[in-house]
């Protein structure tokens, strides 16, 4: 019961870095651009945000700065892939390495310093529920991330903008032929992805683990990328995947702390296994998979 409470109260916060980065990547990939630089963009955002909070700039400014840094780095990626038609995989990896390098450079003098995180906000009434109460005591960024998830889902489901983004990814030629600026839309989507990855990094370094250490993103950007694919480019499934991943990793730690007789290596690999299996099963319908996939993913478009 203690373990369950622990998992429920920590799950959403654990999922937030993945969720923010994956949502950004989702929008980018929906328009057909595969940006593998998420890990590096997150690292850069984390370093910038940490530095701002450390010098007393506050979290709002920190997230703004991290988002802007992520956006600029992603624009560099957009310039290479959409402007110069460079290979998206290679350019994404390069941007990722650049981001990690920049984060190490900027963060050098801040190595292993700490800052204060954000206070938790409770939803009155719900937070007093037995067992589930902890689920409703979260910091403001978690609440905003949930709102962002809802907004992105609604955008894709109900709006013309969502349809347009999908059209550009599905059939850029068709979108171009009816007069839409395909590459401009893609640039905007990539920039949005960078912004969100920057936010994800900021959350990791100033709220979830409020300290700076070079390499602290520790592969979370790659997990976010995987979530987009395993979530078959659907907002709800990505949200589910992120929560599942967060919950199962916390469950593994809680099981160890509680003395459960399972090898810790197995517990450590469970989040990956469970997430892949669950998302694999719910998206096993091949016809739907083809329907949800992005047809022009990774392909350059020359008008």
């Amino acid at each position: 019961m203690i373990a369950l409470q622990f998992i429920l109260s920590g799950m959403l916060a654990a999922a937030t870095p993945f969720l923010l980065a994956a949502l950004g990547e989702l929008v980018s990939e929906r328009t057909g651009v595969l940006n593998l630089g998420v890990e590096g963009v997150m690292a850069l955002g984390a370093a910038i945000a940490f530095i701002i909070v450390y010098h007393g700039g506050g979290h709002v400014l920190a997230f703004a700065g991290a988002g802007l840094a992520g956006l600029l780095l992603s624009l560099l990626f957009a310039f290479a892939t959409l402007g110069l038609q460079a290979n998206q995989v290679a350019a994404g990896l390069a941007i990722g390495i650049l981001g990690q390098g920049l984060s190490a450079l900027f963060g050098k003098t801040y190595e292993s310093l700490t800052v204060k995180g954000l206070p938790k906000l409770a939803i009155p009434g719900l937070s007093d529920l037995p067992v589930f109460g902890g689920l409703f005591v979260q910091d403001s960024v978690v609440w905003l991330s949930l709102a962002a998830t809802l907004a992105i889902w609604a955008t894709f489901a109900f709006t013309k903008t969502g349809l347009l983004l999908r059209a550009v990814g599905e059939n850029p030629k068709a979108a171009h032929s009816i007069g839409y600026p395909v590459n401009a839309i893609r640039v905007a989507a990539v920039a949005f992805g960078g912004l969100m990855s920057g936010f994800a990094g900021a959350y990791a370094a100033t709220v979830y683990t409020p300290l700076w250490a070079d390499g602290m993103i520790a592969g979370r950007g790659w997990i976010a990328l995987a979530l987009v694919v395993f979530g078959t480019w659907l907002t709800a499934r990505i949200f589910l995947g992120a929560c599942l991943f967060g919950a199962v990793s916390l469950a593994g730690l809680a099981a160890q702390a509680g003395g459960v007789e399972l090898p810790s290596q197995l517990l450590a690999s469970l989040p990956y296994l469970v997430t892949i299996i669950v998302l694999g099963v719910i998206s096993s319908n091949r016809r739907l998979l083809k329907l949800n996939g992005v047809a022009s993913l990774g392909e350059p478009f020359k008008p």
Binding site: I2, A3, Q5, F6, G10, A14, P17, Q100, G101, L102, A104, L105, K108, E111, S112, L113, T114, A204, Y208, T209, P210, L211, A213, D214, G215, M216, A218, R220, S249, L250, L253, A254, Q256, A257, G258, G259, V260, E261, L262, P263, S264, Q265, A268
Partner: protein, 365 residues
Amino acid sequence: MTRGITRRNLIKSAALAGVATTVGSRFAFAAEPLGIALVVPSPIGDVGWGHALKAALDPVKAAYGDAVKITVLENIAEGPDADRIMNKTVADGNKFLIAGSFGYQNGAMQIARRNPDVSVLHASGYMVAPNFSPFAARYYQGTYLMGMAAAALSKTGKLGSVSAFAIPELITSINAFTLGAQAVNPAIEVSVVWVNSWFDPAKEQEAAKALIAQGCDVIFSNAQDTPSVISLCEEAGVYAFNLNSSMKSYAPKTYLGCVATDWSPYFKAQVDAHLTGKFKGASAFLGVADKVVQTVDWNPAIPAETMKKISDIEAKIAAGSFSPFTGPITKADGSQGVAAGATMDDAAIVAMDWHVKGVTSPLPK
């Protein structure tokens, strides 16, 4: 980018070394300084393992001044990259190499074999050669003392440890911590969470939270280089301690203390030996008696009576009349670990792969 800068420094130092040799050949009497290179796997901050090694070179520099030239290469991932970088530093004229991670063992050993004039110190390994010495700390002597303090302060009788990997060095620390706690309160229990990573601050904090949720009220941050666990425990209001260098500034209220390591006496002695041509490869397992392991920054909340007991035991450890691993010790599975009256020897301590009774978490195989 760190690595890029490191590389640039390397090129710079190579260029300088070039200049030095030219000058040297012109003025044959100009003595060349001894190049000492330290290689560590993580970025060096104000605390942690890398910091402890780097800080230990300061007294060496102070003692020799311009007669030594120290190069620190940080954030060097274990593996082929480390081999390449270590080879480069030796090719650049560094004759004293400190390989600051277990994973550098094979690469550093090759360097030692190929360059008999280079002396190599290697952290926590087991291989020895005439010019290659492994060194390790008897952390367990300090964690035993921390266990005594932890048991005195714990209200729940449950202690926790966030640990990196289940290797003998870490297992030994946890066992001694448990035995020290049981010396004060025989009913104490210790939970361990293995994060299976040397470096993942977010996961380390999640692990600490999980332990605190289970009721653990003193946390042992076992082999974390960042204050992730320590700062979280301050916020959660539970006591915590760590190894290598003091993190008191991150937890002014709930910092239990630190099992610090000071490698400077050892490094200084080895540099002396190298300079006088007397360097001899030998395994160094150093502890309280060598003044390498020290306990510092004890929390004032520890009762004076316990503190007295702790310093008595510490004096006995230093004098060699007490070992935490003196029987009877029962293993976690109930079988006999150490017979009554017997004391584990160093060979058994460095190979320990079982938990003592009282550690409730299973040991990964």
